[in-house]
C-alpha cells in the first residue's frame, strides 16, 4: 500500500502544478494552447524531452534489451541522439519563427497556408489525429495497470493475497486506476493548458532522470555490483549474445536511423517547438538533448540486460516490466514507491498528446471553419477544454472496453512511428523547397496512409508464421538463457519459406504457414514466397528486403513529393515571397543601409 500512497501523493503534486499554472494564465487562445510562446530555456528543454519520453520508450526499451541485448541502446537511443536534435535544429527553429511571425499554432495551419490549400491541411489533420489517438489510450491503460500493479494486497508472509475469485487482490483496481490517471491528466491539461502541461512535463523529466540514476545505483548495490552479473552472462555462449548486437539484423539497425524523423512530425512536439520564448532556447536544447537521452536510456537498457540473468525465460509481453520486477525485488518499499512515481511519470506522457489534439481541433477545425470569428477567443479556449474532456473520456472508455487488447494499440503506435517519420519529407519540402506543391504533399500523404494500413495488413496476415523470439524460445528450454539463433521450434511438416530464398514444402506461400526445416537464416520468414524476400516477417516486425518498412516509406514519400511537385503547378509568387523572403529582405536591407554588410 505504501508505494500506492506515494504515487497518489505524486499525482496530487502534478494536479497542483496544473492548477498553479491556471492561476498564472491569461484568457487568450495563444496563452492556453502555447503558453503565450513564453517558455524559458530550462522548461523548454525538459518539457520537450519529457514529451518525447513515454512509457513505451522507457519500459519498452528495457523489455527489448532483455530480448535483443545491449544493441538496443544504439538501435533506439543513439540514433535519436543525433537525428532528433538535427530535426529540432533545422525544422523546429523554422516552425518557431514562422509561428511567431504569422501566428501559426499548428503544423496544419502552416501547411495549409504554404500550399494555398485547405484540403491538404484537413487530410493531414485527420491522418495525424488517427495516428495519435492510440498513444492516449495506451497512456490510460498503462496508468491503470501501473496503479493496479503497485497496489497489490500483500499477506503477512510477504506474498500477494489471492481473492475468492482466484485472482490477485489489489487496493486499486485497473478500472479505478485508469480513471484516476485519466482524471488527473484531464484536470491539469484542462486548467493549465500548455503552461500546466509543460511544467508537469518538466517536473516529470527531472523525476525520471533521477529515477533512472537511483534505480541503477540501488539495484547494483542489491545485486552486489553488476560485474558478476555481466561475467555470468558472458560465460554462457547463448546469453553472451546479449552483450553484442548478434540478435539485431544490420539492415534493421540501419532502418532505425529513419524512425527519429517521426519526432518533429508528432503534433505535440511541433506545437511544443512554438512555445519557446526565444529562438536561442533551441541552442541549449539541441546540445543537451543527446546527454538527456543517454541519462535515461543507458540505465534502462543496461538494466534490461541485467534482468536477463535474473529472470531468464520471460516472453515478450512479460519482459516489458523487467524494471518493475528488478525494483520490487531489490529496492525497499518506500523507495519502490518513489520509483513507482517515476514510472507513472513516463506513463502519463499522454498529456501533451491530449493537448495537441485539442489545439489542432480548436485551431485547424473550429477556428479555421469560422468558429473563432463567430464566437470569439473565449469560445475557442472553451472548445479546446471541452475537447480535452471528451478525448480523456473516450480514451478511458476504450481502455476499459479493450483492457486485454493493449497489444492492438502498441502495434498502432509502432506503425504511427513509421507514419510520422514518412511525413517528414513533406515538412522539409514545405520549409526548404520553393518548387514543392500541394499535389506533391497530397501524393506523399496518401502514400503514408496507404503504407501504414499496408504494414498493418502484412503484420496481421503473417502473425501465424512469425518466428518465435529468443526469449520465448528459451522458455521452452529451462536452464538455458536462450538458444542460439538458427534453431526455431517449428511444427514439422508444415509448409513454409525462410529468407535467403530457402523455400520448403510445395504449396507454401499462403500467409499463415509456419516455418519448417533447419533454416539458416531463421529470423525472417518470407510472407509471400512467390515474391521472394520482398515481404518478410520477423518475431515482431514486418520487413521489406530485410529493412523495416519505415525506410521505404520515407524514401518513397520523398520521391513522390519531388516527382509530383515537378509535374504540377507551383504555388503563387505571393506565397513563395511570404515564406522565402530572405533574398528580398537582404536586398532591401542592403539597399537601405549605405554601409556594406561586410563592414557592418
Amino acid at each position: 500500500m505504501i508505494p500506492a500512497l506515494i504515487v497518489f501523493a505524486y499525482l496530487c503534486v502534478v494536479l497542483y502544478i496544473g492548477i498553479f499554472a491556471f492561476r498564472k494564465g491569461k484568457a487568450s487562445g495563444e496563452d492556453f494552447f502555447l503558453a503565450s510562446r513564453g517558455l524559458g530555456p530550462a522548461v523548454f528543454l525538459l518539457s520537450l524531452f519529457g514529451t518525447n519520453m513515454t512509457a513505451f520508450a522507457i519500459l519498452g526499451s528495457s523489455g527489448l534489451a532483455y530480448r535483443q541485448g545491449i544493441g538496443v541502446f544504439a538501435l533506439m537511443a543513439t540514433s535519436s541522439s543525433l537525428v532528433i536534435p538535427l530535426t529540432l535544429f533545422f525544422i523546429g527553429t523554422r516552425l518557431w519563427a514562422l509561428g511567431k511571425r504569422f501566428g501559426h499554432m499548428t503544423q496544419v495551419q502552416f501547411l495549409r497556408d504554404r500550399w494555398e490549400c485547405s484540403g491538404i491541411g484537413t487530410f493531414i489533420f485527420a491522418l495525424t489525429a488517427a495516428m495519435l489517438v492510440p498513444y492516449i489510450i495506451i497512456g490510460v491503460i498503462g496508468g491503470g495497470q501501473t496503479l493496479e500493479g503497485i497496489s497489490t494486497v500483500m499477506g503477512p508472509d510477504g506474498k500477494p493475497v489471492i481473492g475468492p475469485d482466484g485472482k490477485t487482490m489489489h487496493w486499486v483496481s485497473y478500472e479505478v486506476g485508469g480513471a484516476i490517471v485519466a482524471l488527473v491528466v484531464m484536470s491539469y491539461v484542462f486548467f493549465g493548458g500548455m503552461r500546466g502541461t509543460a511544467w508537469v512535463n518538466a517536473f516529470q523529466t527531472v523525476l525520471f532522470l533521477c529515477f533512472g540514476t537511483f534505480a541503477f545505483i540501488l539495484i547494483a548495490r542489491s545485486l552486489g555490483g553488476f560485474d558478476s552479473v555481466m561475467q555470468k552472462l558472458a560465460a554462457n555462449p547463448s546469453s553472451a549474445q546479449l552483450l553484442s548486437r548478434e540478435r539485431i539484423l544490420p539492415t534493421e539497425f540501419f532502418s532505425y536511423m529513419f524512425i527519429p524523423l517521426s519526432s518533429i512530425m508528432f503534433p505535440h512536439i511541433a506545437i511544443m517547438c512554438m512555445t519557446a520564448k526565444k529562438i536561442s532556447h533551441f541552442k541549449k536544447t539541441v546540445v543537451l538533448y543527446p546527454i538527456c537521452i543517454m541519462a535515461v536510456w543507458v540505465p534502462a537498457v543496461y538494466l534490461g540486460v541485467v534482468a536477463a540473468s535474473q529472470y531468464p525465460g520471460l516472453g515478450p509481453g512479460e519482459s516489458d516490466d523487467v524494471i518493475i520486477r528488478l525494483l520490487t525485488d531489490n529496492v525497499p518499499y518506500l523507495l519502490a514507491g518513489i520509483l513507482g512515481a517515476g514510472i507513472m511519470a513516463c506513463v502519463m506522457a499522454s498529456d501533451s498528446q491530449i493537448l495537441a489534439l485539442s489545439t489542432m481541433f480548436s485551431e485547424d477545425i473550429f477556428a479555421y471553419y469560422g468558429g473563432k470569428d463567430r464566437f470569439g477567443d473565449k469560445a475557442q479556449i472553451w472548445t479546446g477544454r471541452i475537447f480535452v474532456i471528451l478525448i480523456a473520456l473516450l480514451a478511458y472508455v476504450i481502455a476499459l472496453a479493450l483492457k486485454d487488447k493493449a497489444g492492438i494499440f502498441e502495434l498502432a503506435i509502432r506503425f504511427a512511428f513509421s507514419g510520422f517519420a514518412s511525413l517528414a519529407p513533406i515538412m522539409l519540402a514545405a520549409l526548404f523547397w520553393k518548387r514543392s506543391t500541394k499535389w506533391g504533399a497530397l501524393a506523399a500523404s496518401l502514400w503514408v496512409a496507404f503504407a501504414v494500413l499496408g504494414t498493418w495488413y502484412l503484420t496481421a496476415v503473417s502473425e501465424k508464421i512469425a518466428p518465435r523470439p529468443p526469449a520465448a524460445r528459451q522458455a521452452s528450454a529451462p536452464g538455458s538463457v536462450s538458444q542460439p539463433t538458427g534453431q526455431i521450434n517449428v511444427a514439422p511438416g508444415q509448409p513454409t519459406a525462410v529468407s535467403s530464398g530457402q523455400t520448403a514444402a510445395p504449396g507454401a506461400g499462403a500467409p499463415g504457414s509456419r516455418p519448417a526445416g533447419p533454416p539458416t537464416s531463421p529470423r525472417l520468414v518470407q510472407i509471400y514466397p512467390a515474391l521472394g524476400d520482398m515481404f518478410q516477417r520477423g518475431a515482431v516486425n514486418v520487413y521489406i528486403y530485410g529493412f523495416l518498412p519505415v525506410m521505404p516509406m520515407v524514401l518513397i514519400s520523398a520521391l513522390l513529393m519531388i516527382v509530383v511537385s515537378l509535374l504540377t503547378k507551383p504555388p503563387g509568387k505571393e506565397t513563395i515571397d511570404k515564406y522565402f523572403p530572405k533574398k528580398e529582405t537582404e536586398q532591401a536591407a542592403v539597399s537601405a543601409d549605405p554601409v556594406p554588410a561586410s563592414r557592418a
Partner: protein
C-alpha cells in the same frame, strides 16, 4: 563552410553504423560491453556535433526575419533613392 559541415554531419551519421563491434562481447572494466561504450561516446559526439552546428550554422536569418516585417521591407525599399 556549409558543405564542410554537411560532410561532417554525414560522417557522424555513418559512424553510428559501427559494424566493427557487431559481435564483439568484450567487457570494458569487466562491466560495460564495448559496443555500449562506443555508443555512449557516440552520444557525446552527437552533442558535440550539435554544438558545432549551433556555433557555425545557426540560422541567424530567422531572428532577423522576425524583426523585419513585410511592411518594413517595403518601407526600406521606398526609402531607397
Amino acid at each position: 563552410m556549409k558543405w564542410g559541415l554537411a560532410l561532417f554531419v554525414i560522417i557522424v551519421a555513418l559512424l553510428h553504423q559501427d559494424i566493427w563491434f557487431w559481435t564483439d562481447k568484450t567487457l570494458v572494466f569487466g562491466l560495460i560491453p564495448i559496443g555500449m561504450v562506443y555508443h555512449i561516446g557516440y552520444g557525446l559526439l552527437a552533442s558535440l556535433t550539435m554544438a558545432i552546428l549551433v556555433r557555425f550554422a545557426w540560422p541567424h536569418e530567422l531572428e532577423k526575419a522576425l524583426h523585419v516585417t513585410d511592411e518594413e521591407v517595403m518601407a526600406m525599399k521606398e526609402a531607397t533613392p
